[in-house]
């Protein structure tokens, strides 16, 4: 077992003109780990995720994928220069991405969407690509939609195709950018259950999400960001159950309130709260914060 992170961010910063949207992000993602990024809109969590595969060119710090620097190389005088597109593609090869808006290619059938990255970038044969694409579609339960065009699918199905497309390249890390934010509430669960099953298979994932309960259940590590910085990072029990960060308490409050209001009888009794030293809402939530796949 190597203890090297599969994905590592060291003091990563990013500015748009004079606005510094990421202010030194440090993050280690170990193989098999599930990391969720949470935080208010504009906190930089999506930008941080996009820096992890250089869709966003970070301009401070370093991103390492399996021990290789992403996006830049050093010249003889230890100055940083932008890598070629080909080298960047080579370093990010183990990383797949699932997008908030799915970003399927509408002129291709579902099968062609999933096979396209294999055919167009990996230079493998059409038959082999087709076989792998079908297997990936099977994995998300959509092999019967292989010949349909994306526009004929529901949002949840489109996102599952997006996940199949990511799976087909046999990634070692999956980046998921708010994978359920564009979906109707009743379609969210079908996507979450696919992600949950990937987690059970040990897929390494970094996910930006607003699904707090899901993040609490599935994550090994939760990262709370605010104003371009990591405010608190740790196991979900710590962030969702026991945080001492006022800003995080404030951020989570609406979710606590929503989680508790429909079932007021489930509020833990005073004894329970007294023994754990938590406020009642937090004590209630810590019950739901269990291991992966719960």
């Amino acid at each position: 077992m190597s203890a090297l992170p599969i994905l590592q961010l060291k003091a990563v910063g990013k500015s748009y003109g004079a606005t510094r949207v990421l202010k030194g992000i440090d993050l280690d993602v170990m193989r098999g780990e599930i990391v969720t990024l949470i935080g208010p809109s504009g906190s930089g969590k999506t930008t941080a995720l996009r820096c992890m595969n250089f869709l966003e060119a970070y301009d401070e710090g370093e991103v390492w994928i399996k021990g290789q620097l992403l996006g830049y190389r050093l010249n003889g005088r230890a100055e940083r220069i932008r890598d070629s597109d080909e080298s960047i593609a080579e370093v990010r090869r183990p990383v797949a991405m699932v997008f908030q808006q799915f970003n399927l290619w509408p002129h291709m059938t579902v099968l062609a969407n999933v096979a396209a990255p294999l055919v167009l970038s990996k230079k493998i044969g059409k038959g082999e690509a087709r076989r792998k694409a079908l297997a990936a579609l099977q994995r998300v339960g959509l092999e019967h939609k292989a010949d349909a065009y994306p526009a004929r699918l529901s949002g949840g199905q489109q996102q599952r195709v997006g996940i199949a497309r990511a799976l087909a390249i046999e990634p070692e890390v999956m980046l998921l950018d708010e994978p359920t934010s564009a979906l109707d509430p009743e379609l969210v669960e079908e996507v979450l259950s696919v992600i949950r099953s990937l987690a059970q298979d040990g897929m390494t994932m970094v996910m930006v999400t607003h699904e707090m309960s899901f993040a609490a259940k599935i994550s090994d590590k939760v990262v709370f960001m605010e104003a371009g910085k990591i405010v608190e990072a740790g196991p979900p029990a710590q962030l969702f159950g026991n945080t001492r960060t006022p800003r995080l308490q404030q951020f989570l409050k609406p979710w606590f309130d929503r989680s508790l209001s429909p079932t007021p009888t489930s509020t833990p009794n005073a004894d329970n709260a007294a023994t754990t030293g938590l406020n009642p809402p937090e004590a209630a939530l810590i019950v739901t914060v269990t291991g992966r796949g719960a």
Partner: protein, 217 residues
């Protein structure tokens, strides 16, 4: 009635001239416009201003003035052309600006997320252009291209001024020699209408053949 029928062979010949001149110009203009837009995208820094200038000049000037420059201006520089050649050259240059803008719109219609997805999945620039951008941009462009081809066909009427024996000149000739207006101009309208409807019909058929544009599967 006899007089009317006697015009048919002349109009048939003229229609072939209009068809030849305008379709050749539309074809060359389309290729030129596609190339202009592709170069603009590939070398966006260097070519942004030359591209805008070209479009600005060509769209800002009446086609007649461009035809005059090519037919009467270029011989001064030692480049002499027949009237039909001058029409094809100037009409191609004129149409290329419009076609380039149509292709630009075609590419602008593709959501950026799709290009990002291609990049995130390691699909190179060329492969993305060919397999992801091109089919969608062309599908988007089909009705606009047809529209522009129709405009080129009708704009070719200006060539009558430099005596290209196309439809409009033929109609004018018949009017001048017979002093009848209604017959020749009615014939003229019918001829242009046939040509433009043929283009519209072909474009509609082409759109119907693009599977991902269909509303029902």
């Amino acid at each position: 009635m006899n007089a009317f029928l006697s015009m048919v062979p002349r109009f048939a010949d003229a229609m072939l001239v209009t068809l030849e001149v305008s379709l050749l110009a539309a074809f060359l203009g389309m290729i030129g416009g596609f190339a202009l837009n592709a170069l603009r995208m590939r070398f966006s820094k260097a070519l942004a201003i030359p591209y805008r200038t070209y479009v600005w000049l060509v769209r800002g000037m009446p086609y007649l003035s461009q035809l005059v420059i090519v037919y009467f201006g270029l011989p001064v520089l030692g480049l002499t052309m027949t009237a039909a050649q001058a029409t094809i050259v100037s009409l191609s240059i004129y149409a290329a600006a419009y076609f380039a803008e149509i292709f630009r719109a075609g590419w602008a219609s593709i959501p950026h997320g799709q290009i990002e997805a291609a990049r995130a999945f390691g699909i190179g620039r060329r492969a993305a252009f060919r397999a992801i951008e091109l089919p969608q941009a062309l599908a988007f462009a089909v009705p606009l291209l047809a529209n522009q081809v129709i405009l080129v066909i009708k704009e070719s009427a200006v060539a009558s001024i430099i005596t290209v024996p196309e439809l409009t000149m033929t109609a004018s000739d018949i009017v001048a020699s017979t002093y009848t207006y209604i017959g020749p101009y009615a014939m003229l309208i019918v001829c242009y209408w046939l040509l433009t409807q043929a283009v519209a019909l072909i474009a509609a058929r082409a759109s119907a053949l693009i599977p991902f544009l269909q509303k029902t599967s």
